[in-house]
């Protein structure tokens, strides 16, 4: 795709959204049978699946921690999730995302409850359109709750950025590619704690603050959608 002349026209983005508007969001909990917990998230054209196994016994044993459970996260992209087929297997980008995802989630878990155990979080991106790491964190939080893992709160995440000089919420692939700045943020909503923050591009100090405002606002909406998905899942479980 060629770079468009403008990414924002008359205050509207290429897909018709206002700068502070989220893409359509769909969250479903409990979508897999074998996993202890699972969730499916659609955010615009992103399609992401998360599954949780555990707390379960840690193998290999020498990686057990005597006083806490170990949290392991693995973010991966399907070969067909992107424009050009991605070779299977972890690359440097997915190793880094797996790390920051783990650090984004760990603050809400009571790992001390399960010494010598492991909690595994697997995130699979089935279709990608920018924002997969934050979509993955949103899915992972719901999957953990679905698995019944005790949590202080959920984690809600979204990316903000700068496009054509405007601070915008929830960038698409085109906005990420042709825009100036991308800043994924994860927040523990009730306590307003920031557990993931990455940024590359260009922000003045003032823009940084404005971007944080947008992120905090959007995470409240995402939080509500996550809780709604869990309520629906709980209703089904109760019904079943």
């Amino acid at each position: 795709m060629e770079k468009p002349e403008k990414l924002i026209v008359d205050g509207k983005r290429l897909d018709g959204r206002a700068p502070d508007e989220l893409r359509p969001l769909k969250i479903e909990a409990g979508v897999l049978k074998r996993a202890d917990g699972s969730a499916y998230v659609e955010l615009g054209a992103n399609k992401v699946l998360a599954a949780v196994y555990g707390p379960r016994e840690m193998h290999p044993r020498h990686e057990q921690q005597p006083d806490i459970a170990v949290l392991r996260c693995r973010y991966a992209m399907a070969p067909f999730s992107v424009e050009e087929r991605k070779r299977p297997g972890p690359d440097r980008r997915s190793v880094e995302i797996s790390k920051v995802t783990r650090e984004a989630i760990e603050p809400v878990l009571f790992l001390e409850l399960y010494p010598r155990s492991v909690i595994d979080v697997f995130i699979e991106v089935l279709q990608a359109d920018a924002g997969t790491r934050t979509a993955g964190i949103n899915a992972a939080a719901v999957a953990l709750a679905d698995a019944g893992v005790p949590m202080r709160d959920l984690v809600s995440a979204v990316a903000v950025g700068k496009v054509d000089g405007t601070i915008v919420l929830d960038l698409t692939k085109e906005e990420d590619q042709w825009g100036t700045t991308d800043m994924p943020v994860a927040i523990v909503p009730r306590k307003k704690m920031i557990t993931l923050l990455q940024m590359d591009g260009h922000f003045t100090g003032a823009e940084f603050k404005q971007a944080l405002d947008l992120a905090f606002n959007a995470c409240e909406r995402i939080y509500e959608a996550q809780r709604q998905a869990l309520r629906e899942r709980y209703a089904i479980k109760q019904g079943g």
Binding site: L32, K33, R34, A35, S38, A45, K47, L49, A50, A51, Y53, R56, R74, A76, A78, P79, F80, S81, V82, E83, E84, R85, P88, G89, D120, F122, E124, L126, Q127, A128
Partner: protein
């Protein structure tokens, strides 16, 4: 792919088989409920999700430029890859495909390749330099048994869903599909043959035979698995079962 089942359950399943019964009440020649959804993945040229009972497999097909193999300079290239995702089962681990994932990919590969399902000869672009490569990626999302049939069916459905790349180099009117092979796996438990084993059944089965047949009932691929054996009669019976059920499964490809 095989999992540990308690000896109580093992005996129970074996005992049921003796009485021509199965855990979930099915008959020996009955599949679980099957659903096929096509076109879920826009970033793929073709895609399909198949559910057989609680087993769930997603297949995406990508069509890209590639160099041909030296011995077939004018033909397209077919690549099949399978990932037993760690989210699909507590026994699947992250990392490079193990022997089960490799076997799964290669069996589906042969089913499609040997039946000449795709007319690869039409997928040349510039002889010896540039051809179309068809990548079939099998993504196992939820594992409740019979991954081979689910994967082969999903691969076939995804191929039928293919929208060719929007490029000048693509000159065919459509994606050249010539056949619709379908794979049926027959498991042997306590001497009894049954189709579509669920995970518990797989775990106690002596052996399985997977048989791919095309529309005219001829065989294009077979693969025996498991540490048990088949007698000659059992094999012939398995073929009849596979042939009959293939027609039923093929309905889902419409």
């Amino acid at each position: 792919m095989y999992e540990i089942v308690s000896s109580v359950k093992r005996n129970y399943i074996a005992d049921l088989a003796l009485h021509e019964k199965r855990l979930d009440g099915r008959t020996f020649d009955q599949f679980r409920e099957i659903s096929v959804e096509k076109g879920l993945i826009k970033s793929a040229n073709g895609s399909a999700r198949v559910k057989i009972g609680k087993t769930q497999v997603l297949v995406g097909v990508k069509i890209e430029h590639a160099e041909p193999f030296p011995d077939t300079p004018e033909s397209g290239v077919l690549m099949v890859n399978a990932e037993l995702l760690p989210l699909a089962s507590p026994t699947f681990e992250p990392g490079r495909p193990d022997e089960n994932a490799i076997e799964l990919a290669r069996v589906v590969d042969r089913c499609i390749r040997e039946s000449e399902t795709i007319d690869l000869e039409k997928l040349g672009i510039k002889p010896g330099e540039d051809v179309w490569a068809v990548f079939i990626d099998i993504y196992v999302l939820d594992h409740d048994g019979n991954l081979i049939d689910a994967s082969a069916l999903a691969a076939m459905a995804a191929l039928l869903n293919v929208k060719p790349p929007e490029e000048e180099a693509w000159t065919l009117p459509e994606f050249p599909i010539q056949k619709r092979p379908v794979m049926v796996t027959v498991s042997k438990i306590n001497g009894k043959l049954m189709v579509d084993p669920c995970l518990d059944e797989e775990s106690v089965a002596d052996a399985r035979i997977s048989i791919a047949t095309t529309e005219d009932g001829s065989i294009c691929a077979m693969q025996k698995g498991g540490t048990g054996y088949f007698s000659r009669e059992e094999l012939e019976k398995a073929y009849e079962l596979a042939r009959a059920k293939a027609d039923e499964l093929r309905q889902h490809l419409r």
